[in-house]
């Protein structure tokens, strides 16, 4: 069982969470060339090792998180709130849980 340290709720089994997707994907502006959209929608690095990904704490606080996880060992390196404003508030409050450490 993977256990994810949610910055809001503490460490929980991954069955409480829903996997989102590769968090390194950035969608381009709407008027970007077709090639940029093709890459963002369809192409992936598919890293074997540490990658950024989004998870939602679906059966908990329902917050979206950015998780740094090793896809070969399932080891979790860090967790933070996906929403930059929420992450900034957590960090500003001096809340260590904000980094998931």
């Amino acid at each position: 069982m993977i256990r994810i340290p949610c910055p809001f709720c503490g460490e929980r089994d991954h069955s409480e969470f829903a996997y989102g997707k590769d968090a390194s994907v950035q969608y381009p502006p709407l008027d970007a060339p077709l090639e940029d959209w093709h890459e963002a929608v369809f192409l992936r690095d598919n890293i074997r090792g540490v990658q950024l990904e989004t998870w939602q704490h679906l059966h908990g606080c329902r917050q979206w998180l950015v998780v740094e996880r090793d896809t070969a060992t399932h080891h979790i390196h860090s967790v933070r709130a996906a929403h930059p404003g929420v992450a900034a508030v957590l960090a500003g409050a001096g809340n260590d849980a904000g980094s998931g450490k």
């Binding site: 069982m1 993977i2 089994d13 991954h14 069955s15 829903a18 996997y19 997707k21 590769d22 077709l34 093709h38 890459e39 929608v41 369809f42 192409l43 992936r44 690095d45 598919n46 890293i47 074997r48 990658q51 990904e53 998870w55 896809t71 070969a72 060992t73 399932h74």
Partner: protein
Amino acid sequence: MTRYSAWSIFKNGLAGQRNWRRAWRDAEPRAHYDIIIVGAGLHGLATAYYLAANHGAANIAVLEKGWLGGGNAGRNTTIVRSNYMMPGNRPFYEHSLKLWENLSHELNYNVMFSQRAHITLLHTPAARDAAARRYNTMRLTGSDGELWDLDALKRAVPHLNYDNARFPIIGAAVQRRAGTARHDAVAWGYARAADQLGVDIIQNCEVTGITRDANRVSAVQTSRGPIRIGNAGKVGLAVAGNTSRLWAMAGLGKLPVETHLLQAFVTEPLKPLLDQVVVFGVGGAHFYISQSDKGGMVFGGDLDWYKSYAQRGNLPAVQDVAECATSILPCLGRVRLLRHWGGVMDMTMDGSPFICKTPLANLYLNAGWNYGGFKASPASGWYFADLMANDRPAPVIADFDLGRFRHGVNIDERGAGPDPKLHG
């Protein structure tokens, strides 16, 4: 090499079974080959066999990082069917099923292909309408398909849970020519047949690098030393689950592929209980089950839902699959699991595979088999060999290329959109 026959069994039986020879050589790598296939799974072995058998190619090596058939060839639920509907998939999987029907004879090796029927349970009128469309499409394109009403289903499989108020069974969609095969025998059969045609199958030989000379591959680096490819040489990748890693070694960037984990299970052996393959999928459930010749119930379900290269499963998926098993076959409630295993697979952006050329002139790609690699392996090898030998895709696989997303011709059998984990 001896040909297997009833007579050879009789003769060796009289001689105390001492004269059987090993089925294929454990080849040492040579410094140079004309064709290199990376991956001695079902697709790689089938490709090597058809290259030699159909196209007369010689000086072929199949490189395998572990042991022959130790990847997804040994990590599946052995189901063979062709109930695909989309253009592109339809003729491809039908060709595969036809190859399966003659495979034991073709390879002179009993792959134990059992056409025991594949039964998809239907629970709603909408599902029955969708199945009618799919199975009529199959019938109109040279395959077989039937819709069974509840009485017919009860006669064939009497011990399903017909008393489920939430998901009542109303009938089934059936392909009688579908069934199961012995997965190891398929790997061994292709290996033996390819070996007899001179193919070197090299185990414990992991590819660690791909050396390029401009837009050609000139050599592959392996854990057993470098292997050069001649000027007319060709390299084919058939490395499900690790395609992106080899692609990166060739310096080719990103692919429309994510590697995900799928588990499967087998129970302790039981007396004959289930004569067909039964598929249960409604309300988020996804479950498929058959009984092996040894009596074990072999079944599987969904992916583990997160990206993973780890060939081991996680517990929530075990619970999910066990719940499906007992909801559709309550009689399995007290049966113990014997074993479960995890395989990593290329999940693509539309759930369909790639058998195509690449940006490099002499590199060819066979990848993206999602859940469906086992049943596809004969046709996959057939058409991949054809592609490599003739340097052009056959019309059947014309859309199995990397450019299809750019052209908007996604072959999305499930209609799930560009999210690899949804293409189960």
